[in-house]
């Protein structure tokens, strides 16, 4: 099966894009500068990500709310139109099928913005759960382009490209819909659904448009100057170091289908007071008797912690690193790891096997940016 491409594939060479395979797509891991420079550009000015490979699954119909509340861990019933929430979608064991944002477009009209690598899996999973619920489930990914503009100058840049009141959009809220008609704001003259959301820890916006409008919006944003400086295109490499520093989890690293999601420590996205939902019982049990917990850590010795490295206590393996780096903003060897609960305590010392070399580390909060 050949790899897919977003509407921006032909733009990558203009900026020196280095292409890798990701989630079944050919995507840029970085552009012409370096991962470090791209990461810093987002924190200090603004950067533009092509995230068109992500999936958009639409759930509509009179049973939308009870159906979504059954398949998701969070509660959509109290959402207002134009708001966004974060949720997990679990299996019966409380492990994660996917994690994503849910947008309430209208009454009984919700958009699930899913991980690129999981779009097809999620679509089948959701359809298989419909049963007697009166809902429609559509995968509209192919007709939608998505860009993320992130960094302190994001709003200023978009204001130069729009007459609409983008500044009025609060965090975790949006304006527009996927019909791209009169309900939408315009960016560079193109109708978009714009949300004040992002995955970097900086202020920023996610911009959804018609697939054929993605390239002109991309070009317009990259050409916009604020005091002589322009935003840069940013690849997937920096996307990972940015989200990691900001304490944001990644499916495949911090979330897997065989780890109860209560171990992640983001229980605000799990509403146990709802009626039954997929995984509820397993999650209640795991919450009452947890075996492991996700923690942040910082090495006290030298080296670089990486995904997959073991956490040991003597001869015993007591955990595993899920993500680790010496990242560009917080220039220290830090990581996230699942660790057996007895040792998963702030301030505790653990031992990380850096390949064959044991190095000590201290457990710290994984909101690394907040605690810099």
């Amino acid at each position: 099966m050949s790899l897919k491409r977003t509407p921006l594939f032909d733009k990558y060479p203009e900026h020196g894009g280095k292409i890798v395979e990701f989630g079944g797509f050919e995507m840029p891991i970085q552009f012409e500068t370096s991962l470090t420079d791209e990461h810093n550009r987002v924190r200090e000015f603004a950067g533009l990500f092509d995230v068109s490979h992500m999936g958009e699954i639409i759930v509509t119909g009179k049973d939308s709310v009870p159906f979504l509340n059954y398949i998701l861990t969070n509660d959509v019933s109290k959402m207002k139109i134009g708001r966004v929430i974060y949720t997990f979608m679990c299996n019966e064991n409380g492990g994660v099928v996917d994690d994503f944002m849910v947008y309430k477009i209208a009454e009984d009209n919700y958009a699930l913005i899913v991980n690129a690598s999981n779009t097809e899996k999620d679509f089948q999973w959701i359809k298989n759960l419909v049963g007697e619920y009166e809902v429609n489930v559509d995968d509209i990914t192919a007709r939608i382009g998505q860009l993320a503009l992130q960094g302190p100058k994001s709003l200023e840049i978009l204001e130069k490209l729009s007459d609409d009141d983008i500044a009025s959009i609060p965090n975790l809220a949006f304006v527009g819909d996927f019909e791209f008609g009169d309900n939408c704001f315009k960016v560079a003259g193109k109708p978009c659904l714009i949300s004040k959301t992002g995955y970097t820890g900086e202020d920023g916006y996610e911009i959804y448009c018609k697939a054929e409008d993605t390239a002109p919006i991309w070009d317009a944003i990259l050409a916009t100057e604020i005091a002589g400086e322009k935003p840069w295109p940013i690849g997937l490499g920096a996307r990972d170091t940015l989200r990691f520093e900001a304490g944001l989890p990644l499916y495949g690293n911090e979330m897997k289908d065989d780890i109860p999601v209560v171990y992640l420590g983001m229980n605000f996205a799990i509403k146990f007071n709802k009626d039954d939902f997929v995984g509820k019982k397993a999650l209640e049990e795991a919450k009452a008797n947890p075996k492991q917990k996700l923690v942040g850590f910082e090495l006290t010795g030298k080296g670089v912690p990486r995904q997959g490295y073991e956490i040991v206590d003597g001869d015993e393996v007591i955990g595993e690193v899920t993500t680790g780096y010496i990242p560009p903003t917080i220039q220290k060897p830090i990581g996230n790891a699942y660790v057996n609960v007895a040792k998963a305590v702030l301030g505790e010392t653990i031992t990380v096997m850096l390949r064959k070399r044991p190095v000590e580390a201290t457990i710290i909060s994984n909101r690394f940016l907040d605690n810099k």
């Binding site: 970085q30 370096s34 991962l35 030298k302 670089v304 990486r306 390949r355």
Partner: protein, 125 residues
């Protein structure tokens, strides 16, 4: 890509500068460019006795760890400890930021190395 004429080269992108029976070893401009920003270098111990093909350290970039393999065997006589504080020197000056100096156990192993032209062809492949 810089490929100095006076150096010898190994297939996995180390450069070697020979002075008598001591070989100074680092990684090439091509290698540092492929790796990206280097954040950490794991160095061997002085007096380690190593064979051709043995790992003599690790170069870590933001994204990945890369083992370093000795193109020629011998005893580690000197290690560039400056790399512990400024690993990024390998990116900016790959031919000045040497990693180890090896006292050769078998100088005939040098004959297996490439010259600058051969290495240039190798990187073009």
């Amino acid at each position: 890509m810089r490929i100095p004429e006076d150096l010898r080269y190994a297939e996995d992108h180390e450069w070697i500068l020979v002075d008598g029976d001591v070989a100074m070893i680092g990684i090439t401009d091509y290698a540092q460019d492929q790796l990206g920003d280097i954040v950490f270098v794991e160095l061997p111990d002085e007096d380690d006795s190593l064979e051709q093909g043995d790992s003599f350290g690790v170069v870590e970039s933001v994204k990945a760890a890369s083992d370093l393999y000795l193109p020629v065997g011998g005893t580690v006589v000197e290690v560039n400890y400056e790399l512990e504080d400024t690993p990024e020197a390998i990116n900016s000056d790959p031919y000045e930021a040497w990693i180890v100096k090896i006292k050769l156990s078998d100088p005939s192993e040098l004959e297996e190395l490439m010259n600058a032209d051969e290495y240039k062809e190798h990187t073009a492949e």
